[in-house]
Symmetry: C2
Subunit: 387 residues, 2 copies
């Protein structure tokens, strides 16, 4: 049978010890093995592959050719495959011969002579069916499978949608190559979530808490420098109004409030949008509604904060005009913040840039620059009422 | 047998239609059903339970008594349980009698007369064993189970650690009550990640992209108001130095750079620490090393940015003293930022407050207030060199 060899557990003949963790690698499944090899240097990798038997080495080499973030990169090649012409009894005999330890002991895949995937039989169905039943009579033919080059994030969405424990991976002709199991997908989810969270905070997604200082600086300093450019743009905006500030120093006191609150409101919206994009909640159909909703939230939150800060400014400085200027600036900046919190990730996504990667920087630039501009600009326009 | 009734699929006799989604609820498993009931109002909930048969209603009512975020709240009561005195053949007969659709068709749990969990047999072991083998001879006795009141996040960590597809849930006497499957855990992980991400951004974790405007404002406005208090504190700090600013307006231009960059550096550290706490990477053993590492990163990044901003300040204003003041303030604020980025989430965790919930606000308060204080304070001390 074509698929039988795929089912053998890849065993490394020479046990070896991972230098750092002291872990003995012997009976790893093919996907775990490939993950581990991917983290080693070329020399170590080749040393291990050389020590494997020819068939296993061939399989591992093939797995290494798939992108690490694709279905092929996370699949295991250990699965149970039988022909549709088998009976239940023959299947049980076949299962008894198999070495234990297959990655999915609960689904059996059904293939034709050429290895094309025809259906699936849950293991339980085998037990509860009459021994003489033909497999083709009990198999489920409508089978969800994923192409070998599908991005791992898309694979995770398939699991999320259908609630499977395992999904077969096929090539473009429909030949089954391996399976992805739910625990692999959990790893993918963990990676993707950490990536989003880290990128939002300006960290490289590969940074580890236990990593080296130099790796940490390589992860963080570039983002701080990008943010510095933003900060300089904001400073340049303030410098346009040096004259106004020199006349009314209270402006310098209230300036950070307007910019900072805009940044906070913008971050709220962009986090919601980034999450919505990641889990597929934001679609072509609802995006206009979401934009309308966010704009309305910006208007209402802006109104609330504009009034509060306006009253605060009035009492602090003792000038009605000052209260009006800061209240209006706050209102305008909150509206701009929520709108840019919506548009920045959406536009980045359209440009095929990960929204989590750069959204925060862009939105903060907008809220800082415009926050200062609205506040100091309005003050300049109304300067005669302020002094 | 004691556990047999637990295995029956809970079936709602009267099909009914969910008003909003038009979904027909009929053959849901108990955990899905309880999840759904939890989202309905009291009247709808009671109407459904009243229409169920007595036994199923009893089971659902019991499940509803467990906290929704505990093992009991996410478990299903459909599992396969047999006695250890069964033979493989008897087990197969038993499985053939069972209605299909159990939540775990791949593990069979072994219990004694009182329903106490004794072991587990993988379904595949049943198929490949001799029909006359006793279950107690092939069952795995060392079984990982979780108590019914364990927090769902801890349950997720158990799955992560052992790589299981399902874990049995027991009461304090060791009686099996249900099982949690990996797909339930994936839902938990999704919730927890979204919660962390949203809380970091100052969003209520229940806010939905498609939710109402009033819900969104209830989610966001309180956080904006908390941040406003922070911003007012920062403004009050600036106001201490009104005299200095009125003499050197350039201070107002550079002020936001110092505070903003501190905020960015602090957010980097706190995100890493919050993630480290969530996935258990930060432990009692390594916390001193991590603090030392973060402090060193703060010193080095502070040095780099202090020099860059110092040079920038020198050329912009044309004063060596000004460059020195802003460079030193930047350096100090970056060190404080990374250290508070470490301490704030660690202290919140010790106080049993979710670090994701309040860390950002505290760290920003520190970096804003101290950023302004360092910069304007140094400028005041060195005022004779600056004008």
């Amino acid at each position: 049978m074509d698929c039988a060899s795929d089912d053998e557990k890849i065993s490394i003949i020479s046990l070896f010890t991972d230098k750092r963790k002291g872990m003995i690698v012997s009976e790893m499944s093919s996907d775990e093995l490939v993950d581990m090899l991917g983290q080693l240097g070329e020399d170590d990798k080749n040393a291990i592959i050389t020590n494997m038997n020819v068939e296993d080495a061939q399989e591992v080499k093939e797995l290494l050719t798939y992108g690490p973030e694709t279905a092929g990169g996370i699949m295991a090649t250990e699965f149970l495959a039988i022909k549709e012409t088998y009976t239940v009894n023959e299947t049980i005999d076949y299962l008894r011969q198999m070495t234990p330890g297959s990655e999915t002991p609960y689904y059996i895949y059904v293939v034709d002579d050429k290895g094309f995937l025809k259906g699936v039989v849950p293991l339980r169905e085998i037990i509860s069916s009459d021994p003489m039943t033909m497999i083709k009579d009990i198999m489920i033919e409508k089978i969800i499978c994923v192409p070998v080059d599908m991005d791992q994030e898309e694979v995770a969405k398939v699991f999320d949608k259908y609630g499977f424990m395992a999904v077969p991976v096929v090539d473009h002709r429909g030949t089954i190559l391996g399976i992805v199991t739910l625990d692999d997908v959990m790893e993918v989810m963990k990676e993707e979530y950490t990536e989003d969270m880290f990128r939002l905070a300006g960290l490289d997604e590969t940074e580890k808490l236990s990593g080296s200082v130099s790796d940490a600086i390589k992860s963080r300093l570039p983002w701080l420098l990008v943010n510095l450019v933003t900060a300089i743009l904001a400073a340049a905006t303030v410098s346009l109004f040096e004259d106004t500030i020199s006349q009314i120093v209270a402006l310098a006191i209230f300036m950070p409030i307007v910019a900072g609150m805009g940044g906070n409101a913008g971050t709220q919206t962009l986090t919601l949008i980034i999450r919505g994009i990641a889990i597929g909640e934001l679609s072509y159909e609802n995006q206009k509604d979401i934009l309308r909703k966010e704009t309305l939230i910006g208007l209402l939150n802006g109104l609330a904060l504009g009034i509060i800060v306006g009253v605060l400014g009035y009492f602090w400085v003792g000038s009605f005009a000052f209260g009006f200027v800061i209240g209006l600036a706050m209102f305008l900046n909150l509206v701009v913040a929520t709108i840019s919190g919506y548009y920045v990730p959406v536009i980045l996504k359209k440009a095929n840039i990960d929204p989590a990667l750069a959204s925060a920087v862009f939105v903060t630039t907008v809220t800082d620059v415009l926050g200062f501009f609205f506040f100091l600009g309005l003050a300049t326009l109304m300067i005669s009422f302020l002094i």
